[in-house]
Symmetry: D2
Subunit: 252 residues, 4 copies
């Protein structure tokens, strides 16, 4: 809906799979509107002409750095779902932002609120339990096992456990058929199930005396990324500088 109070949003990669969904999501959301839809070949100056306040970038690792330099120079904040950010790239973005106290950039590898919340809660719960394991379940066309999200969760859980002085969970297994106990990611066991009929699911299990705590996220459609993107659009202008990870704008 058009309104002078709306956040004016430009979408980069607007004809791509995620970009097209972002356009649709912004158009359906309150308090914001799409003012520019650009894709490969379009001039970035269109963002300035359209007076965009925030851009959403779902483009390509080859394009995203040029996009970010341009928008930061022009005082436009950015919500970025494009992948391929190294420490070196993040450092450059920080440098560009250093002279722009009113411009923010949010770069997030995962915009699914549920996945981000699950990871955060897992990290919070980790220090209260003797042991933790992860089961992730995906469709059987997936190439990597475990999933990036599950591996990342495992490392967050492991880090929280170490900070609390916990050693790896006790495991009395003495006879194992190879692989039964899953992959060890930073001393946290991760099990990867692959079946047709599944989409993307993750379960983090914690065990203590007489009880277990389980945090589970089920995602069945990439539309599930959009509430996180919209939240990013709303929050990024209030957070100058670089923010990495959606969890850092959730105010948990």
């Amino acid at each position: 809906m058009t309104s002078p109070d709306n956040i004016r949003v430009g979408v980069l990669g607007a004809r791509g799979r995620m970009g097209a969904q972002a356009v649709q999501a912004v158009e359906g959301a309150e308090g914001m509107e799409v003012v520019a839809k650009l894709d490969a070949g379009d001039a970035l100056s269109g963002l300035v002409d359209a007076k965009a306040g925030v851009v959403i970038d779902f483009t390509h690792p080859d394009a995203v750095m040029d996009n970010l330099r341009f928008v930061v120079e022009n005082g436009i904040s950015a919500v970025v779902g494009t992948t391929g950010f190294t420490e070196e790239r993040l450092a450059r973005v920080r440098e560009w932002l250093s002279g722009k106290p009113e411009t923010g950039v949010l770069i997030a590898p995962n915009f699914a609120l549920g996945a981000v919340l699950a990871m955060r809660f897992a990290a919070q719960a980790a220090r209260f339990y003797e042991s933790a394991e992860i089961i992730e379940l995906h469709h059987n066309r997936k190439a990597d096992a475990p999933s990036g999200t599950a591996a990342h969760t495992a490392r967050m859980v492991a880090e929280a456990r170490r900070s609390a002085g916990l050693r790896p969970g006790a495991d009395a297994t003495t006879s194992e058929v190879d692989g039964a106990r899953g992959a060890s990611v930073d001393d946290v066991r991760v099990h990867s199930v692959r079946l047709p009929g599944l989409v993307a699911h993750e379960e983090i299990l914690f065990g203590g005396q007489g009880e277990t705590l389980t945090i589970r996220h089920d995602s069945i459609d990439r539309v599930s990324f959009m509430p996180g993107v919209l939240l990013g659009v709303r929050e990024v202008r209030r957070r100058p500088g670089l923010t990495v990870g959606l969890e850092n704008v959730l105010d948990l």
Copy 2:
């Protein structure tokens, strides 16, 4: 294990079901030891003689107020699992504590860390989702439905939703067999399953576009309360005054 650095713990209600478990738990824990085991009829002065620094109270609503007045007056901190605390009772405890800047009292209706974490995470997740429902599952000897924990969780979720300006989740049901949609607790639907072979289980489900987040706690033994009690013993002396609810000593 005995050590001059140990927290010296007195257990009130030491022959009761929970008290006996608390004795055992303290004896098995690092950094603390049991110095007094009292039950109905024993003189509270035994706590002072034993130089107890913290008492654990699993007694009875009829006894707990006298116990608390005594221990606070003697500068002994307390971890209390006894039930029956009204606002009026809490106010009296606060008053006793007002002149004792080094004495703390922790009163908690639920010492199961997993249940407390599940509630906390549910309250944190609530504002990010269009809708939430609760399923709690217990053995079929339970008299009340929903369980106290599930009803409490529902109210916490409802409160978090209201604070975020969310209205009750949309529900298109127009034809319902009576009871199918569960109980409405503060506009959050709660479903109570009762079966032999279950113990105590709670599942909080959140739904948004294309995704769900589920937080589940399974408790199969009351030994699951003990890590929470021990955590309380460690934390209560660092927190003068009255603390209600284990969640408030978890530093989440």
Copy 3:
């Protein structure tokens, strides 16, 4: 794939949502091919011209009886997903089939193999357990609670329990917030959860001393009906007469 040995399949309602999926499924399957695609307004004689051996009917209650009379008269077998079959309608189909020892009709309210298997297993398990309850979970645009499948499952479980001489499961609930214990369908409790992000899920729980058995079916796409339709196409010609329910061609 075309082959002289293929089952020659005609699809009625071929432009409808389910019919179109059926066309695609048959075209992708081994041992069968689509020889006729008809929709409202097309002459049924096209089925005879195309030498169809089996028709799939996803049409409308107003059309299906005329369709069935025609195909049975012409010795064509039928797999029917159209709804609206009363006992009276079934009797008429049986009558038409009585003179056709080589023609079969399979009418099924549910072609999802998983749902049919879940119901069958639930009926088999029922007599071994003291108590059973059902949780069904659907998206929050659904109008009826409980779902037809869950209500049907409840009645099958109840019937199996009665046949085994079991009384309704014990329930000690004395204090209930209205609706907490779910709907009573034939003395089996059914709980209906409604959330965005869900599609169609059913869980049948059985409880006995120290153990529970859970049978769960998750359906996230109506493509899940197609393996059941294809199975029907393969089986219907070997089963003259009327068969009601996919479970009766599964040879369990």
Copy 4:
């Protein structure tokens, strides 16, 4: 309860963990009574003196063959939970029984009805799905991974798949952290989770187009074996000869 119509039950290994539970279970059941409780050192002739009709044997691999020879010679049927039966041992029991048309022996590695039903349903469902995997979850004091029950289930599922002409489920994994995809038992993937707070749980997952079917068994107490033992006592006299596996007396 005592009654002339009762099945007269002798318990061997009556002071052992399982035997003692069996005594208690028979005493609480309708239609049967305990007439002899024997343990190591007691004369087997006590069974004849007590006119036992059925014995329950939870003893030891070293003792069970002598026990069985004695009871079969005396026309007493037997329900056996003792382990260690090889093909050679089973052949000897069959031979002893060959001259006893009214005596039956039931030997079962698992008396948990739910575990047996779960395996049976899994074997029945297997041929309808493209792919199947198993997750088993146990307390972290367990020495072997996967559990014997899960490995046995995997082989049953694999056998059912082969009989139906199915090849191993498709798996697009090209990049795997060692162990992530679990153990391969007869081409079925099995994942073993080990956590304190768990007891014994097994989940068999089947995946097809747009749907999954899950069969789950949770056991939290060895009392869960007793309904299976009692069912065995009731059924064994009606089944002369040797029966191996509780599933074969369930009449599914």
